[in-house]
């Protein structure tokens, strides 16, 4: 039909016209995409549902306000005080992850810079492969190594730190002894090694995207390698490094078995000293779920799991926001 001269051109919507041609394929990929959402939602629903009786018994906030986890004091009817305080686990998760980040991020950035900017080409492939292999080592093996190799190795240093820094004013409590080996510090060390490969891998890719011309124009001004990195590579990579660090953090927050093996599993209350034994949200679940016989014990572990899920999602969201903002800053 030809529109009459002078009449407005009819606006026919052609959207959707191409959608009918491969129905099976489209439903298949849609189903796959939907599955991801279903799994995420179902996990959250399951945790909250399982935790519900305990939450109704003690209230949501009482968990976070207490740092005393004493299942043997729980009774079928008692509501107050909540014997299942979990603040110490949140503290443990935060402290071990923080130690891991502080140690791993600078090392990962340095390793990636070496791999992308300094190392001869034949060594790059070799060393990159080696770093990737670190990620292939099973978590439980890291735990074993932590107990039987790392702890004996760091014990003299730990004892020395507790004797010197442990008596210092202000920061003293953070390094107070005695040091038996199993501790937040060793858990953080093991975590640092475990998250090193992922941070390194991402940083390596980020640094590789810096245009050669940018690096060469820094070199052409008379920059040394380090000055070139500082002028041309790092400023362009800030968002990428932040993203890599957050992904590492995500791993550290959730890492379970290796941490459970080296942290000492002191669930009873908060240990201020980094050299003391503690527990993380993940480690307490792994450590206790098989023998949770007290009233509301298993349900309270589910509460821990639910909070862990919330924190993990929050870390990822915040991380992505940081990455997006840094990217906008550069553009």
């Amino acid at each position: 039909m030809t529109p009459l001269p002078g009449s407005p051109t009819p606006r026919r919507r052609v959207r959707g016209r191409w959608h009918g041609t491969d129905t099976v394929f489209q439903y298949a990929v849609r189903a796959a995409a939907a599955l991801v959402i279903v799994v995420l939602v179902a996990t959250a629903v399951f945790l909250v549902q399982q935790a519900w009786p305990a939450l109704r018994q003690y209230g949501i906030l009482s968990y976070l306000l207490s740092d005393r986890w004493a299942p043997s004091e729980a009774t079928a009817t008692g509501r107050h005080p909540n014997p299942y305080g979990i603040a110490q686990f949140a503290y443990g998760t935060a402290v071990t992850s923080l130690i891991a980040m502080v140690l791993a991020v600078p090392v990962a950035v340095a390793v990636s810079l070496y791999l992308t900017e300094i190392a001869p080409r034949w060594l790059r492939r070799w060393l990159s492969g080696l770093v990737d292999l670190l990620a292939a080592i099973p978590s439980v093996v890291y735990g074993f190594w932590g107990i039987f190799a790392l702890i004996p190795a760091v014990r003299p240093a730990g004892v020395w730190v507790s004797r010197t820094l442990g008596t210092a004013p202000v920061i003293g409590p953070l390094f107070a002894g005695p040091f038996f080996g199993v501790s937040y510090l060793v858990a953080g060390l093991v975590l640092a090694i475990m998250i090193l490969p992922i941070i390194t891998a991402i940083c390596r890719e980020v640094f590789a995207t810096v245009p050669t011309e940018d690096k060469e124009s820094a070199l052409a001004l008379g920059a040394t390698r380090w000055e070139m990195v500082r002028m041309a590579v790092l400023p362009r990579s800030r968002s990428g490094i932040a993203g890599a660090a957050v992904l590492g953090l995500g791993r550290a927050v959730g890492e379970t078995i290796a941490v459970t093996m080296v942290i000492g599993n002191n669930a009873l209350s908060i240990t201020t000293s980094l050299l003391g034994p503690g527990a993380t949200m993940a480690s307490v679940i792994a450590n206790e779920f098989t023998e949770s016989t007290e009233p509301f014990h298993l349900q309270s572990l589910m509460v821990v799991g639910a909070w862990l899920l919330v924190i993990a999602l929050a870390v990822n969201t915040v991380g992505k926001l940081i990455v997006r903002r840094t990217r906008e800053d550069i553009a």
């Binding site: 245009p211 011309e213 060469e216 052409a220 008379g222 920059a223 040394t224 002028m231 400023p235 550069i330």
Partner: protein, 264 residues
Amino acid sequence: MTPDTTAAARIDVVNLTAFYHGQPAVADVDLVIEPRQVTALIGPSGSGKSTLLRCMNGLHLTVPDASLTGQVLLDDADIYAKGSNPVEIRQRVGMVFQRATPFPTMSVRDNVLAGLHLGRRLGRGPHDDVAEQALTKAGLWQEVKDRLKAPAASLSGGQQQRMCIARALAVEPEVLLMDEPCAHLDPISTLTIEDLIREIKETYTVVIVTHNMQQAARVADTTAFLTMSAVGEPGRLVEVGPTERIFSSPRRQTTEDYISGKIG
């Protein structure tokens, strides 16, 4: 003797062959770059013009698996001799690239002063006088004097390229290498930069790689023509001479073919 403080340097390329992965990219080059002149390197893609240029400040060797034989003398001292400091060489031999390369997180002023902040040659501080001088030399001062703190990326392409020239000049080099500096610019910006090149050659030695023969004819005092016998073969220097002579009466057939558009 010249009253100017900058000493434009002379470059002697002696029997130079440059390799990537052991394959020669440009071979057996002997070339003299006179001070206070513009020397243009012309030739088809793959003839090794850029490689030759990058050998003049040692940038070639920052590429993994790159190597070279022969000598490059900067005022009679071999820049590849044992004990010569590549950082110092690159301070004396500045370079401008095909694509403008502003440091994206820095302001216009910080970009211009970037080279001076290296190795603490100039302490931190505003140093607006130094920035003004360099930007004036690059013919950009009038356009950016009110925008020194603006991000460098906010300038137009032509302005960014002139800012990069100002950045290279701020460290007071003796030689300025330009690798197709107008390849990505519009004709107006190109002419602005060509005017600029004619001005700075009063003080500096300028070597420019260009695909644009009119550009070589417009700005260069001396023109060197490179080509390769076949794709994959190393480039060689065919002919070098005063620009006018190269374009009006080339002595070699290949030069004439290239200039008249038969090859390349």
